[in-house]
Symmetry: C2
Subunit: 393 residues, 2 copies
């Protein structure tokens, strides 16, 4: 079935249990699907844009109210919707980082945080993760001291991932932010894997910025996201334009340069808005998600030789697993090589594992029903049995 010239209609979430690590939290709600059709046209949300002519002031559809709701949702003072979390990193880096400035990242930081630093000519300095792939406040303090020695000053900004993309581990942002505050370092909490998935309390974390991703974790179309901040930092990162035309004398009102003016028109924004009531609710039931994750992880670990690389017990459903000692041993002699594994799962109705991957890989159980989790767990065990791997009870 095609939905345009050469574009096969995608049905992966209709036909499969999809355990793709980055897709789980971005699946649209039914309301979002309806909304993106109704508001699919480019400037659809601008029908009732009136002075002062800025997206976040529009009241019909209720965009202004939505901005306030999202700020409250992450317990911050102010929020803007943005075209992806990365555009939030970019705006904050652009506000605080100058060429040659040291910037604190971590050994588990996402590449888009690095790109935001690179854009400003900042010098990245990573807080190393410990043996369990956790970023600790002690390591943060030590790294800041290192930077002080190296640069004669503290880092100008810190990016700390709430849950990282590599292991899905949760890091103690509260304690790390407390350390950073002692050196007056503004802290950006990257909540791409948490905002919309589990409760995030920006003020409680003691951070200056919370960034979330609409398409990763808020059941919204891409590119979408949120940059939330405190009243104090809002004056910096959401400062309004000062530029003026030399001939016409034109000024540009309350448009915000870091946002490049208005941000998300149309489908992306209304998709976020339509999903938001369900997103607000679902974060309160993350315990269910973790128990489903445990069913699947336990099944995988019952296959002798499998190692869990993520922290245990799990605090997030994004999970990194090492099957070099189990599923990969089959690949060596299987006629399909490593493709037997994703192939066997695909036949069982499971998608989202990179074809051929049998060594170290990631999956995400977020959004499954209990039944699906049990089915998935059984599919892993069955695939192991079918290929002569040992199962421990």
């Amino acid at each position: 079935m095609r939905c345009g010239n050469g574009i096969e209609a995608r049905q992966v979430n209709e036909l499969f249990i999809n355990i793709d690590p980055i897709q789980a939290g971005g699946r649209l709600t039914g309301d979002a699907m309806k909304a993106i059709i109704a508001y699919g046209d480019g400037y659809s949300v601008c029908d009732n844009c009136r002075k002062p002519n800025r997206l976040d002031y529009i009241s019909k559809p209720p965009i202004a109210e939505f901005h306030k709701d999202v700020a409250a949702f992450v317990h911050m003072d102010d929020a803007r919707m943005i075209p992806g979390a990365r555009r939030g990193f970019q705006a904050v880096a652009h506000t605080y980082v100058k060429k040659g400035d040291p910037v604190l990242l971590t050994g588990l930081s996402h590449y888009t945080e690095f790109l935001a630093v690179e854009e400003e000519g900042g010098i990245p300095r990573e807080i190393p993760s410990d043996a369990h792939h956790i970023i600790t406040p002690d390591a943060a303090a030590a790294k800041i001291e290192d930077v002080q020695r190296e640069f004669g000053r503290a880092p100008v900004l810190a990016f700390i991932d709430h849950v990282d993309y590599q292991y899905g581990n949760m890091h103690d942002v509260t304690a790390i932010a407390r350390v950073a505050r002692q050196y007056d370092i503004p802290v950006l909490c990257n909540g791409a894997y948490t905002v919309g998935i589990l409760p995030v309390d920006g003020k409680g974390l003691g951070v200056d910025f919370v960034v979330g991703s609409g398409h990763k974790s808020m059941a919204a179309p891409a590119p979408s996201g949120v940059l939330a901040t405190t009243a104090e930092r809002a004056q910096e990162v959401f400062r309004t334009t000062k530029i003026e035309g030399d001939v016409t004398g034109r000024k540009f009102g309350i448009k915000e340069p870091e946002m490049m003016g208005c941000t998300l028109m149309g489908a992306t924004l209304v998709g976020m808005m339509a999903s938001f009531p369900q997103v607000k609710e679902r974060v309160n039931h993350f315990d269910r998600e973790l128990s489903n994750n445990k069913i699947v992880v336990d099944a995988l670990l019952s296959v002798t030789g499998t190692k869990l690389l993520s922290e245990n017990p799990r605090k997030h459903t994004l999970t990194r697993i090492d099957t070099i000692g189990s599923f990969d041993t089959v690949a060596e002699s299987h006629k399909k090589r490593g493709f037997y594994f994703s192939g066997a799962l695909s036949e069982k109705g499971i998608a989202g594992i990179i074809p051929g991957a049998t060594k170290v890989w990631k999956f995400n159980t977020y959004g499954m029903t209990d039944k699906q989790a049990i089915y998935l767990a059984d599919a892993f065990v069955t695939t192991a049995r079918e290929n002569g791997l040992r199962i421990t009870a």
Copy 2:
């Protein structure tokens, strides 16, 4: 009818002839509507992302091919899809403009071009428009000379709007670019109102960059757009990342910092792709659009006292009109004040005029059928008659 909590389903294009100046070219095609449902989920297009892991290399759906097609469509060597034209301005400004650098804009430049300059600390210098609201190559040359005198050097970059947002006038980008080249100034052609609407030949225009807007003129959801460039400039603005983690030694492959890595995932991109065959075709029939525009403009000018502020004959369907001497004279004594005008039109099934506006306003006839243009023309004349205005034959 609602499509989510407090979100009224939008039906403006189903129930009305919509003459909103910025919405005409961004209305989705049927194929785009199907595609955004199929690909609505956040990372939907990433199902088949393989090494080297960059959006524009994905072949299923045919994203890689689409990138090549779009570059060819505007006759440039290379193209990236971006979250709105403004993000193209930002990337180019960030590449070429340093603090204190003079940047050439025009008296008709869009505010987002100014914001891109402001972000880099550039100093905007506007080429003034002439009495007919046209940016001429002579004025460009004079302004560059002024800048040379003032700064001791030429502007580092020029933003020239192909068709401007204020009057919908077409400017002689070819001749202006020829002038700029004599001073080695890279030229960005802002085709937000032309790419996807009428044929745009970047090499023919002699520019370094062509920027287009998906949601303004390519029948795509927001935010979307294109940044196309020459092979030479591609090495500058699409340079790949060089940053490296100091602890982990991580590098980030062929990700492009100005693009912040991958750009448009999901609905926005696939919406552009699905509409593209129709968009490619429709630019060849812009003459029909202009004849429809003429029907409407002639009708408005038949109302005594109305002035056309845009150039005449029209070269674009975005049109600025002055009705201070006609429709506005009624507003003075009408019990609904200026709201009578948009109200009367709304009753006739016409939307897209700012409620209360009767002095100077804009409309866009793009995408209408002949019948709709005749109907719209008649609606303006009838509204004038109903309110006792004089009509000249």
